[in-house]
Symmetry: C2
Subunit: 274 residues, 2 copies
Amino acid sequence: MKRENGAPIGVFDSGVGGLTVAREIMRQIPNEKIIYFGDTARVPYGSKSKETVTRFSRQIVRFLQSFQVKTIVVACNTASAYALDELEKETDIPIIGVVKPGAKTAVQVTRNGKIGVIATEATIGSRIYSKYIQELNENVTIYGKACPLFVPLVEEGLWQDPVTDEIAKRYLTELIDIDIDTLILGCTHYPLIRSTLGRIMGEKVTLVNPAYETARELRELLDKKGILNEEPPELGDNQYQFYVSDGAEKFKQFANSIIKYGILSTKTVNIEQY
Amino acid sequence: MKRENGAPIGVFDSGVGGLTVAREIMRQIPNEKIIYFGDTARVPYGSKSKETVTRFSRQIVRFLQSFQVKTIVVACNTASAYALDELEKETDIPIIGVVKPGAKTAVQVTRNGKIGVIATEATIGSRIYSKYIQELNENVTIYGKACPLFVPLVEEGLWQDPVTDEIAKRYLTELIDIDIDTLILGCTHYPLIRSTLGRIMGEKVTLVNPAYETARELRELLDKKGILNEEPPELGDNQYQFYVSDGAEKFKQFANSIIKYGILSTKTVNIEQY
């Protein structure tokens, strides 16, 4: 086995949302080691500018590279939308985002050619999902809707709550009226309120969670490059390591409600130094 | 007139909330120049740790000092709660926060000795209002309640909205049951939903907005030190200058809905460099 195969995968997000992607990677390629970074000191990204999100993302990539990661997953739609192109140019290891995999799945799934995307203001404003989807199939129409209150509602734990229902109805009404048949959950927080979203959209609408397809593409990429980790990590090896820029203890509690593997090690780093 | 009298006052907040304090300073001491900084790249502060908020605040103080400000107002309850003591030790100009003035007013106002404080998780967790109030009058009891969803609701413009009503009722019920007669709006965003809060609390409860008292204390401080600006700035002089760490245009729009003076100049700076 080449040394690189045993190297970890870097995964980052503005905070806890990317854990829904990390969880999917753990499920689909359980032999891999993961270094997760959540930028909890500067969360959220979704209301911030391209320049700022790109600067933050660059610092995180430098941090992850200090672990000799073999690849990096940008497990944040906003950072994928704003920073992925720049990061790919500047970095010599493969980097994948969550937007392209989500777009691909949606195009495969839609029957009537009307796809809705819900995401942060930044992701919707970037029109990145439209760009990728149009490249795949120009006959598909994309309807984007920014849902800025979903992230704070999820972070407050109101996953099943009349207030979340009310806000979701406001955001989704126009997508229902347009008669979309596919809805991309274009922010890594949104899978946590999937049942609310599914109930409001109705059973004719397929919800696409880019996390699943992202983990599948990651697996393919590692396989193609011959750097899949074929063997499970040794016992006592710290397979999943978590780093945050603030509030390690709070992160750990939230993370343990999402990931069933148990978040053992969470450390705080000053990301501005990278 | 000494040169220092004409020097500007530095005012900072995690974002736009501190504008409610800046507005009050403009009203009460209209001859003063203001340099306002909103940390929009790293907003919000209210869910972050003492260490992180202090580090961010230090950078902002260094930035403001580059303008030779004669005093600094920490127009953010979280930063006042977590960082003011440190900042005072490290800085050779006077620095005032919003917590002490708010505490003082509440003690003067209460008749039944039961004061409620609503604020971010950080401010409530710090127990700073309790500390100051107990120092002023140990017979007063303080009831703190963190209201983490108010900031995103205000930032989304839902100042008058059934959802804000519903969330406010949940947060405030226990304070109503305890029969407080005074409620401190312990976050600079909250005055923007004052009418909702007042309606729910009922007319027997006095709402205390620390911004008013902070501006009054600032005026006293400048007067005592002999550095009040006695003359209005000259025409063409840029009396109010606004700086943010991200999204100058978006900030300007929001700011113009709060401050009637017109936000002419808003510039973006990379605060991490300070």
